[in-house]
């Protein structure tokens, strides 16, 4: 069978594309399935590259700008590669009331990137979330999807020590 001409060369022969193809097939290439497909694509590739978005757009027969609009509307989707590990500090109301702000500041200092960024060595993405729904553990955070709480700035830094180089000096 001839290769699908819509597959951009960078993605060609990438086995992860099969996962995305399967999802689109399962959802019968319905344009409505865009968000589901983007979820699958991000899970498979870790992030949504332009090439991947263009491919999805062509397969679902959607305008590229519409696909881009959807991918950038939702905060779960990311268009840049993420770090090997992820640490997400909850900044929901209960966590905020109990001092999540200080934890974020301290972690930013310790790993040298702002929340929402990835360390230069690609080891860690530091992020915040608007409530992870573990309010009784406030202030809480997750590291690679494992829930920890209640935390202090110090205990949070300690937890990252094994994953990434941390600076102990306070700014």
């Amino acid at each position: 069978m001839a290769e699908n001409p819509a597959v951009p060369p960078v993605l060609n022969a990438d086995p992860r594309l099969k996962v995305v193809d399967r999802a689109m097939k399962r959802l019968r290439y319905q344009p409505d399935a865009l968000i589901e497909v983007l979820h699958t694509a991000q899970e498979a590739f870790g992030y949504l590259s332009r090439e991947l978005l263009a491919y999805v757009a062509s397969q679902l027969k959607l305008p590229e700008s519409q696909v881009f609009g959807v991918a950038t509307f939702y905060h779960s989707f990311t268009l840049r590669p993420k770090g090997e590990h992820s640490c997400i500090v909850c900044t929901g109301t209960a966590c905020y009331v109990k001092g999540a702000g200080e934890i974020v500041t301290r972690l930013e200092q310790a790993v040298g990137v702002r929340a929402g960024q990835t360390t230069a060595d690609g080891k860690l993405s530091l992020g915040t979330a608007r409530c992870l729904g573990n309010c009784s553990l406030a202030p809480m955070l997750t590291i690679d999807d494992v829930v920890y709480g209640p935390e202090t700035p110090d205990s949070a830094v300690e937890k990252l020590r094994s994953l990434v180089e941390v600076t102990d000096e306070l700014g």
Partner: protein, 240 residues
């Protein structure tokens, strides 16, 4: 079509079933300001300038999409509404960097005219001065995000009339921005047909023809209804 009667600004007015409050008011020469609305395009109801007070409704309703109904009592220019409209346009003027004095659209701009009409002689809110790019990569046209009011006329006309759907919106909230294709420079867009419809419908100097200097751009909107009318007639002929 069934006739209905409603009251606008204490005056009894006859209207046809299916007309919006805006249609009825404009027929009567009542001037309700609008920005995102443009006859011929699907309504979005985003600018909120056409809000009117409807007896019995806890909040004002947008005249552009609210259908006139029997017995409605409507106020179009209460002190509160006038003040709200002023604030809304002030917010728009503060959101991006409109600097009228150095705009190709100066003197021919819907936003500028609206502001003057609503009695705005200064903006009480902080100018946000977001540093946004200008995309002049297309041969004939350019896009200056600093002057965009996100009325989405370009998005709508490109999708529904031209059928290209080159434009859409990226991001959300205050980071919303018009994008071509996958947020590529407009010059590299493969879907754009260079038809220029978006440029003509843009109410401000966000989309403009290259070569126009300050105050030179005059936009021509009449094409929209002409095209739509011709399409309707053509479709009639085909089905006949």
């Amino acid at each position: 079509m069934a006739a209905i009667t409603l009251t606008i600004n204490n005056e009894l007015i006859g209207a046809r079933q299916g007309q919006t409050i805006l249609d009825v008011a404009r027929e009567r020469g009542i001037d309700i300001p609008t920005l995102c609305h443009l006859e011929g395009l699907e309504e979005v109801g985003g600018c909120r300038l056409c809000l009117v007070e409807l007896q019995g409704s806890p909040r004002p309703v947008p005249a552009c999409v609210t259908k006139a109904a029997e017995g409605m009592e409507i106020t179009t220019h209460s002190d509160k509404l006038v003040e709200y409209r002023k604030m809304l346009v002030e917010l728009l003027l503060a959101e991006r960097t409109h600097t009228c004095s150095i705009c190709v659209q100066n003197g021919n701009c819907e936003l500028q005219t609206l502001a003057a009409k609503l009695g705005i002689d200064h903006v009480r809110f902080d100018y946000l001065h977001q540093q946004l790019p200008m995309d002049a990569s297309r041969e004939r046209f350019a896009l200056d995000h600093n002057r965009c009011v996100l009325c989405l006329r370009c998005v709508r006309v490109c999708d529904a009339v031209e059928g290209a759907h080159t434009w859409d919106v990226r991001g959300r909230g205050s980071t919303s921005r018009i994008v071509a294709d996958l947020d590529r420079p407009w010059g590299g867009s493969t879907s754009c047909t260079d038809c220029g419809k978006c440029v003509q419908l843009c109410p401000t100097g966000a989309l403009f023809r290259k070569g126009a200097t300050v105050g030179e751009m005059i936009k021509e909107r009449g094409f929209l209804n002409r095209i739509l009318e011709r399409r309707r007639l053509a479709a009639q002929r085909r089905s006949a």
